[in-house]
């Protein structure tokens, strides 16, 4: 893992540009990116399972059966039971909901903050831009995991705390993109002209900035989702994230920090671990594909 905030550049973009509209070109490139498609399918299945399966199965993820502790997979418990006799499959599915919830909402928080601040920095420029950019540099370089752990200790671990703190430290990447694009809009005098016509900053943001930044922002937001899921799992694994008894993939793995469990009870730690890895991988695949699709120049 390692919580890398700096977005990596694009992966292999398949070349091939026809004489189609930019939109269709992007779509084709995206779907050509087989990994992205695979990621989309994978994530779709996971999401579907996490949302629907608990209802179908009807097993309470928090139901404790003290007489059936650490049962290996078998009838009744397809993935066995955990150390408090709870059904691992039910917890895994509910944990998926938490992961998706944290991933999407913190990415949303980060993107919105980045959009606002980036537009402000780009629109006003000058010292406002200087201060905000400097601030973004520092936040970006600061290991967010450490900050989030410290914050969790301050306010006590809880789901909202987690979402907010992940979101609050994820804004610099979208900020940079929005700032850059707004700045270039400004240089094109387009904004100055519109502003001269009496349009307010919010209107300018909505009408002129948002349409331009939406594509690159989607890419960044997707990667932010992967980042947030990873952070949630890590913080929960360290025992400072989603508080029990709510299941999360991270805190399920927290239980496996013992050699005895690691060696003799793989059903307790392999499923959540694989689930985290595959989910993040799927989101990263999608993000990667989106990036290629959104940025035609990469096709070079």
């Amino acid at each position: 893992m390692t919580v890398t905030d700096v977005p990596a550049p694009a992966a292999a973009p398949p070349s091939g540009a026809g004489h189609a509209s930019p939109g269709r070109l992007a779509a084709r490139r995206f779907f050509r990116h087989r990994l992205a498609l695979a990621g989309l399918i994978m994530l779709g299945l996971f999401a579907l399972a996490a949302i629907v399966l608990p209802w179908i199965l009807g097993t309470d993820p928090n139901q404790v059966i003290p007489t059936a502790i650490r049962q290996p997979p078998g009838a009744g418990h397809p993935l066995g039971t955990d150390s408090a006799g709870r059904d691992v499959l039910a917890r895994l599915l509910v944990g998926g909901r938490i992961s998706l919830l944290v991933g999407l909402s913190s990415a949303l928080v980060a993107t919105l903050i980045g959009l606002m601040l980036g537009a402000v920095a780009g629109y006003f420029g000058g010292w406002v831009d200087g201060v905000l950019s400097r601030f973004a540099d520092v936040v970006l370089a600061f290991p967010s995991l450490i900050v989030i752990i410290v914050v969790a200790a301050f306010v006590g671990p809880s789901l909202p705390t987690l979402i907010l703190s992940i979101g609050l430290f994820g804004w610099p990447t979208p900020f940079r993109i929005v700032r850059g694009l707004t700045l270039s809009l400004r240089e094109q005098d387009a904004l100055v002209a519109v502003a001269g016509l009496g349009a307010g900053p919010l209107r300018i943001l909505r009408r002129h900035v948002v349409p331009v930044v939406v594509a690159p922002l989607t890419v960044v937001a997707t990667l932010a989702v992967a980042q947030a899921i990873l952070l949630e799992a890590t913080v929960s694994f360290l025992g400072l994230g989603v508080p029990p008894p709510t299941a999360s993939w991270g805190n399920m793995l927290n239980d496996a920090q013992s050699l005895t469990i690691l060696e003799t009870m793989p059903w307790l730690w392999l499923p959540p671990g694989i689930a985290i890895a595959l989910t993040i991988l799927a989101v990263n695949f999608i993000g990667d594909g989106l990036r290629d699709a959104a940025d035609p120049r990469r096709g070079r």
């Binding site: 003290p66 502790i69 150390s83 920090q257």
Partner: protein
């Protein structure tokens, strides 16, 4: 060209790393194989050697190697002689006389005398020293004058000669010895510590790097923040079987792995790991019924669980047999009172709270319990069996109609909750309840409210019995008194006792003379008898 430059830079980097590695490759020269060294586990990171503080387990263990005290808890849950070869109480129960060993010396060669004991006990009775045990001596003659500042020392601590130490009490207490048992009340060297100002004594660097000791193996150095080296005390009163002891903080897992490689000679074993360890080659597993309890504590004064019927309901609602069998893998025993030993102190006919959810519901209904009332189960997370037990207890209470939830607290928050008297069912495992039934005084007497009686339970009938119990010398009478007291405790459940976990220790085959002490914090009590083959 460029590549070559990069390669060179990489090589230079590697060299630096190698140096860094060599620098932190830890204690060199200690090869555990053939030497007369032993390595023992500390189950938490050690802090130091200040016995005045109400300190943590690993410090207790290290202090047993470095310091010595008047009396210890022996392996069979009786009093063990230490610096006091014999002790006796007068007929009126007010004068305790300790006959100290002859010719004992501090590690620097200075003779150990009763003056050291008087000096140290005065420190323990002095809140300015940071002492965590002032409350134990409220009953000592002159303690109040000392505390008020009208006397410069406690009159009741006396040294009639170099080998005799006397404590004069205001009120009789035939079980006073129980207050002084290891791993606390270690004796300090007056010729060293006496030179330090009492104000700010806690912060004195001496406690981190003590220069003088009295135990079999004295502090030598901090090898790392997690490892301490002890050397055989050249002036110890017995011939020692080891040259050095290394005490190393290791998590349970790391300890199990090191046992396997034969690098570790002693480790505490968690119940779920016992089976695994039993299968290891070259490792011996020893187990004993522990002296402590795993219990739920409620702030009785907060009123939430003040009704004994509710507490009884909670007892019936929890399947404690299943907890012992499943969570502890059978390594424990269900008990129904706080004091569960010695056998004469446990009367027959106590109510056994077997798992009975229906009865729990009936009792709750009778008590008029509001099912919406939230009951927190507070614990410091990190110990797997406890975490699991808390989860199960919460679920079972919910089934019985109590709105229970697990509340994880870090140590600092937990202490604060205790200070604020704001806790519902706080999980703690502790204590030494098997030598003398008077050990329940600290937890249940009215006098200890605000101190070690953390539930603040105060019952006049029980209190009268407890006072009578320590004032009576006749064994038959004491038995009767405590039978009554135990009945009250059993019925009222001021502390909701769950079970007594076994103490399990693993030792390497090469370590000889290790004798298991049921109390985990007393594991090093007979270190003077250790040797390696």
């Amino acid at each position: 060209m460029i590549m070559r430059r990069h390669t060179r830079a990489l090589l230079a980097g590697l060299a630096v790393l190698a140096l860094a590695l060599a620098g932190c490759s830890g204690p060199s020269g200690g090869d555990a194989g053939g030497s007369r060294d032993a390595t023992v586990q500390l189950y938490q990171a050690p802090r130091g050697f200040n016995p005045l503080l109400a300190s943590i387990g690993p410090d207790h263990l290290m202090e047993q190697l470095h310091w010595d005290s008047l009396v210890s808890a022996a392996g069979d849950s009786t009093y063990g002689a230490r610096l006091a070869e014999r002790s006796e109480v007068s007929a009126d129960g007010k004068t305790w006389t300790f006959h100290l060993v002859q010719g004992a010396k501090w590690s620097d060669g200075t003779p150990f005398t009763a003056k050291d004991v008087v000096f140290t006990y005065n420190l323990y009775a002095n809140p300015k020293s940071g002492s965590g045990y002032v409350g134990k001596f409220a009953n000592v003659n002159g303690a109040k004058a000392f505390k008020d500042g009208t006397a410069t020392s406690v009159a009741g601590f006396q040294a009639p000669d170099d080998n005799t130490f006397v404590i004069q009490l205001d009120q009789p207490n035939v079980a006073f010895l129980d207050e002084l048992v290891q791993p606390i009340m270690f004796i300090l060297p007056e010729h060293v510590v006496g030179k330090f100002p009492v104000d700010g004594l806690t912060n004195n660097p001496f406690w981190r790097n003590p220069t003088v000791g009295l135990g079999p193996y004295v502090f030598s150095r901090w090898v790392t923040a997690d490892q301490v080296e002890f050397k055989a005390n050249p002036n110890y009163r017995k011939k020692l079987g080891l040259d050095r002891v290394f005490a190393q903080y290791l998590t349970t897992d790391a300890a199990m792995a090191q046992l396997q490689t034969g690098k570790l000679d002693y480790a505490q074993v968690a119940a779920p790991d016992a089976k695994r360890v039993e299968g290891l080659k070259g490792v011996k597993l020893q187990r004993a019924e522990g002296p402590g309890i795993f219990a739920l504590h409620t702030a009785v004064d907060s009123g939430k669980l003040a009704n004994p019927l509710v507490r009884q309901a909670i007892m019936y609602a929890i399947d404690r047999d299943a907890l012992v069998k499943q969570v502890l893998n059978g390594e424990g025993k269900v008990v129904d009172t706080l004091v569960h030993g010695p056998s004469w102190a446990v009367p027959s006919g106590l109510t056994h709270y077997g798992y009975d959810p229906a009865k729990a519901k009936a009792l709750l209904a009778q008590a008029g319990w509001n099912p919406a009332t939230e009951v927190r189960i507070e614990l410091t997370p990190g110990q797997r069996d406890r975490d699991t037990a808390a989860t199960i207890i919460a679920a079972q209470l919910k089934e019985a109609g109590i709105n229970a939830k697990v509340q994880n607290y870090q140590a600092a928050e937990l202490s604060q909750a205790l200070g604020k008297r704001d806790f519902d069912l706080l999980i703690s495992a502790y204590g030494q309840f098997t030598i003398d039934p008077a050990s329940m005084n600290a937890r249940l007497s009215c006098a200890a409210v605000g101190g070690t009686n953390i539930t603040a339970y105060c019952n006049k009938d029980l209190d009268a019995l407890l006072n009578q119990g320590i004032a009576t010398k006749d064994q038959a009478q004491r038995q009767q008194i405590y039978a009554q007291a135990q009945k009250i405790v059993n019925e009222q459940m001021p502390i909701l006792v769950m079970y007594v976990p076994n103490t399990i220790a693993a030792t390497s085959d090469r370590l000889k003379g290790f004798q298991l002490n049921p109390s985990v914090v007393d594991a090093f009590w007979n270190a003077a008898d250790w040797s390696v083959s």
